[in-house]
């Protein structure tokens, strides 16, 4: 491993390491072992791809691309069966709400709702919430701007419904 690329890689990575953690949490919210595994996979892919990074896009955009590609295709290497829950189904099977009776409960619920989205919708909402603009989201996902805009409306509506239903359930539970 050469010293110079390693130093510049680590310096760039240091400012963006949260991106990798966020992608891992979004795609593997419940399984810490799988999350750690995909985190290491992403770091390895980033390191291998780093010589190709020419600065044509922002470093954060490049990290998102590598991290999302790795996270979405990681599942096929796992021996575990991936979860394919629809949002409506996961509302019915929502986790025990007593677990959420703490500060940041809504944030936790938001993660639960995002976890129930399809892989592409997860990527879109994550990039949107992380302040990536439509052009950046389009270049990372390969979708068109129009498509992203339509999907975002649908995703946000689904997430709001999930939060509202769970908040009602919580209030009734109390």
């Amino acid at each position: 491993m050469h010293e110079e690329p390693e130093t510049s890689f680590l310096a760039n990575l240091d400012q963006n390491i949260r991106i990798v953690h966020r992608v891992c949490h979004t795609y593997f919210p419940r399984d810490a072992v799988e999350r750690e595994d995909v985190f290491q996979d992403i770091m390895y892919q980033l390191w291998k791809s780093y010589p190709l990074f020419k600065g044509e896009s922002k470093f954060s955009t490049w990290i998102y691309k590598v991290a999302l590609n790795t996270a979405i295709t990681h599942i096929r290497r796992s021996t575990r069966t991936p979860r394919y829950e629809e949002l409506t189904e996961s509302v019915a099977c929502a986790p025990d709400l007593n677990d959420h009776m703490r500060q940041g409960e809504e944030f936790h619920l938001l993660h639960e709702a995002i976890a129930a989205l399809t892989d592409i919708d997860k990527a879109i909402i994550l990039l949107h919430l992380e302040d990536q603009n439509y052009d950046e989201i389009a270049s990372i996902t390969g979708l068109t701007r129009t498509n992203i805009s339509v999907r975002l409306v649908r995703i946000k509506r689904a997430l709001k419904n999930y939060l509202q239903r769970n908040q009602i359930v919580r209030r009734e539970g109390l």
Partner: protein, 208 residues
């Protein structure tokens, strides 16, 4: 909190409460790279082993028979003929496995693909190999089972297959059945489930 940006506000509030992640040191990076290289090699070797294990069993069997019955022209011819039929299949399989496992997301000079293209290329690569493997299994399993039955009966059963057609057929069916069960389990784990997942992602993108 306004209803229009409730999600965005929730996300920002949550992020503000999160602890800062530990920075990645050179030592951490070295450890991760070493561990991933080991894992990659292990995955490839497991895959190669799973793909060629049946062929290894067959070749070992043929070699053992050939050495033990050297001089017996009928057995020798049978072994050589079996090898001649099976070697091209093994070469084709090893070439395909090498293409499948040797891929890299970082081909020199090519940019990082977007998520859609990455998933599409993974799907195509895996589906191509699976298609090839299915064809090979359809051909290879009956051929190798027939070779094993023929050689075993010629050597150890008086009258050979010609004198015991029912037993030969039953042994052949048993061998094919066991192979099919093993191949189906392997295919489900390594091909069908991953392909289903990738197809769902692709369909999701294409539907919009």
């Amino acid at each position: 909190m306004t209803p229009n940006n409730e999600i965005e506000n929730l996300w920002k509030e949550g992020k503000a409460r999160e602890a800062a992640p530990a920075p990645m040191t050179g030592k951490d990076l070295h450890a991760i790279i070493a561990s991933r290289v080991r894992k990659e090699l292990k995955t490839v070797s497991q895959f190669v082993w799973a793909a060629v294990v049946y062929q290894i069993v067959l070749y070992s069997f043929l070699t053992h028979t050939l050495v033990r019955h050297w001089g017996d022209m009928k057995t020798m011819l049978l072994c050589f003929a079996a090898g001649a039929i099976y070697v091209p299949l093994t070469i084709a399989l090893v070439r395909r496995v090498r293409t499948l496992c040797g891929r890299s997301t970082t081909k020199p000079g090519s940019p990082i693909p977007d998520v859609f293209r990455q998933v599409e290329s993974e799907y195509t690569r895996l589906a191509d190999f699976f298609q090839f493997k299915k064809r090979l299994d359809w051909l290879g399993v009956p051929v190798s089972s027939a070779i094993i039955v023929l050689v075993t009966f010629t050597l150890f059963v008086r009258g050979g297959v010609e004198g015991n057609p029912v037993a030969g057929l039953a042994f052949f069916a048993l061998w094919v059945g066991m192979s099919v069960i093993a191949i189906r389990a392997e295919n489900r784990k390594r091909f069908i489930s991953p392909l289903r997942h990738l197809k769902e992602v692709l369909d999701d993108v294409k539907s919009s």
